[in-house]
Assembly symmetry: C2
Homo-oligomer: 392 residues x 2
């Protein structure tokens, strides 16, 4: 009798609009290959605490809703693995108990650290560990781009366009500041550069560009004088002086969430111009209506490819996207060493920043093919999107 093959998939780090598309890809491929899939509840913590979810609990209807389900369906975690032997013992016990021969971590650079460590640790136990990338920040090394980024970029572009139209409703306009997620890498804010006039932002500031409050005030004033409005797109992580414009939460972490609101107060005080601030916040990574079909497809393909690679005996790798050409867009999925992705940030290229109001056409050519196609979002009668659920 053929032995059952069991694999364990988990989700880790912040959500993207397509992380559950990767779960979809894993489940579809597993069905094809006759493989049984467990989900680890709350990332690596499920493996530590033997808190696994038998994913055969998902019926066909739920599975088909995965590509339009925001959040991380299995729960997430930001736990990092260290040398604590009891934790490693717990993980091994869970894997053995459920006879699991492969682990598929789905996450960002912290999760690829977990992936590399798991791969190394279990290299002699015959357990394969293959990572699936995801992050809206698009800052993972060794992959052309990251699942989740394009859908978030599409959200940003659509929001900036509609906010910009809305802002131009009055003869005498306001300054509109739009804050976009991205603490270290500015890929998402940068995507607003694809908008054409009259929707193109007057200013785009990334964490990778220099920032001075005085220069910013001058830029805003100049644009406002010329046009009667000024729309500025700001990454959350623009390098402001923490002493004056950031705040510290109760854990002592510096938070720049709301930095645009602080800059708005400064503009109002110093320039005497009305300001409207929009913080795009978490909907950027969770909007089913603006999922890019290409992004969803790649997330799914990477999930399937990770399962296949693991069944093939590969380990300690992350499946990555290698672009072959822009137009027509083509790519292949390749394994890269997870340890070379771990804990690294691929920032927006400085040479693509032409000014505070324009980025390189190379960036446009890079992003455009990733944005294409829409998914058909199923809703209830009152127009509320449906979502998959583990609760029955």
């Amino acid at each position: 009798m053929k032995k059952d093959i069991n694999v364990c998939y988990f989700q880790s780090g912040g959500p993207t609009a397509v992380i559950n598309s990767s779960l979809y890809g894993v489940l579809k491929e597993a069905k094809k290959k006759g493989v049984h899939v467990f989900g680890s509840h709350n990332g690596i913590e499920g493996l530590i605490k033997d808190d696994l979810i038998d994913l055969s609990c998902l019926d066909e209807k739920d599975i088909e809703l995965l590509p339009q389900t925001p959040g991380v369906l299995l729960g997430s975690s930001r736990k990092k693995l260290n040398d604590d032997v009891t934790i490693w013992d717990s993980i091994l016990k869970t894997l053995q108990k459920h006879d699991i021969s492969a682990v598929l971590p789905n996450g960002g650079n912290d999760s690829m650290d977990t992936c590399a460590k798991l791969g190394e640790h279990f290299s002699k136990s015959g357990i394969s560990v293959v990572g699936i990338p995801k992050t809206i920040d698009n800052d993972l090394a060794l992959t052309d781009h990251c699942p989740g980024f394009a859908s978030a970029a599409r959200h940003v572009m659509n929001q900036v366009k509609l906010i910009s139209i809305d802002a131009h409703s009055y003869g005498k306009g306001k300054v509109v500041l739009i804050e976009v997620m991205g603490r270290e890498a500015g890929w998402l804010a940068a995507s607003s550069d694809l908008l054409e006039a009259p929707f193109h932002p007057d200013l785009i500031h990334l964490p990778e560009s220099d920032f001075s409050e005085e220069t910013f005030l001058k830029e805003v004033e100049e644009a406002y004088k010329r046009k009667g409005t000024c729309v500025a797109v700001l990454s959350e992580g623009i390098p402001v002086h923490h002493d004056t414009l950031a705040f510290y939460d109760s854990f002592g972490h510096v938070s720049q969430e709301g930095v645009a609101l602080e800059l708005g107060k400064l503009i109002n005080k110093r320039l005497g111009i009305g300001v409207r601030t929009v913080i795009l916040s978490t909907p950027v990574r969770a909007n089913p209506y603006l999922v890019s079909k290409q992004d969803s497809l790649e997330a799914s393909e990477l999930g399937a490819a990770a399962l296949d690679a693991a069944l093939d005996g590969q380990s300690g790798v992350m499946m990555a996207i290698k672009r072959l050409s822009n137009e027509p867009y083509s790519y292949e999925i390749i394994p890269v060493p997870a340890k070379d992705v771990a804990n690294k940030n691929r920032l927006f290229p400085k040479e693509w920043i032409l000014s505070t109001s324009s980025l390189s056409p190379e960036f446009h050519a890079y992003l455009k093919p990733l944005l294409r196609g829409s998914i058909d979002v199923k809703t209830d009668e009152e127009g509320l999107f449906l979502s998959a659920s583990l609760q029955k």
Copy 2:
């Protein structure tokens, strides 16, 4: 030879996602009736300054994009008319110059003040003035509901659901505060009450309910202890103490935009819990992807009905919606005196506020039929919505 009939339509006040659907309705009906339509640029100001736009400049493609075009296409204004004779003379001159026999102001309660005054002033000149309602705040008197509200409500409901799913991604969650437009009336924040568990907010605070910071902190703490997260939906206009939690802009106006961010800091400081704040802001009134088909249809019908009423010689009225039944939903469009709508606010009924976490089922029955159906949003190849434009 039959004399040409010229009418002048204008938009006033804040945008809604369907105000351009009313323009659509006016243009379609005008075509049917052989009437020529001018648009007044920037609300009443276009009539004062003889700045009219001949709307035959809009081609068929642009007209078909109107229902998915955010903002106010013709530009808006917040100008109020007073007794200044020179202004009235200017308006009359513009009307006479273009041989205009009807004026159609499309706006909220301030605009219905303008509508009433224009109607009264020109009652003997044979110029009809008929208003078309709009406001996301749903606070106009004498109409069952207001075009723009349902689409904004649908945006709020979808956003609260996706933010709530996103917020539950971690085992240990945060408090999530969602700030929704609505300075005086809480209809929009209230719409989140239609979400069912597990997406229903833990707290809903409206401008119409009492608010104390201490009680709020207790409510948040209690929900967080019980569930490990707490999602609160707050109207911008909740009655906080202005001294501590609001700020004044350079014009001396009190602004509560960002009040949720201030409350978030308070929660973080006093309860030591992590907080994520999402300010839904202007996209609530500008999102083409969440336009309710019913809302768009009614906005268009009200535009057409206003034109018909004006051609019929009615004046000083606003076209309103009178609901006949909830299920099946039916209504009729009737004229009401614009002066009785002007400068009034219809607040959310206090008797529908059952607690800080639940509203009356009567409100659900009221809102549900207005949310139904979707419009098919046309996009470019990269998934950016298309919009109508006056610039050729």
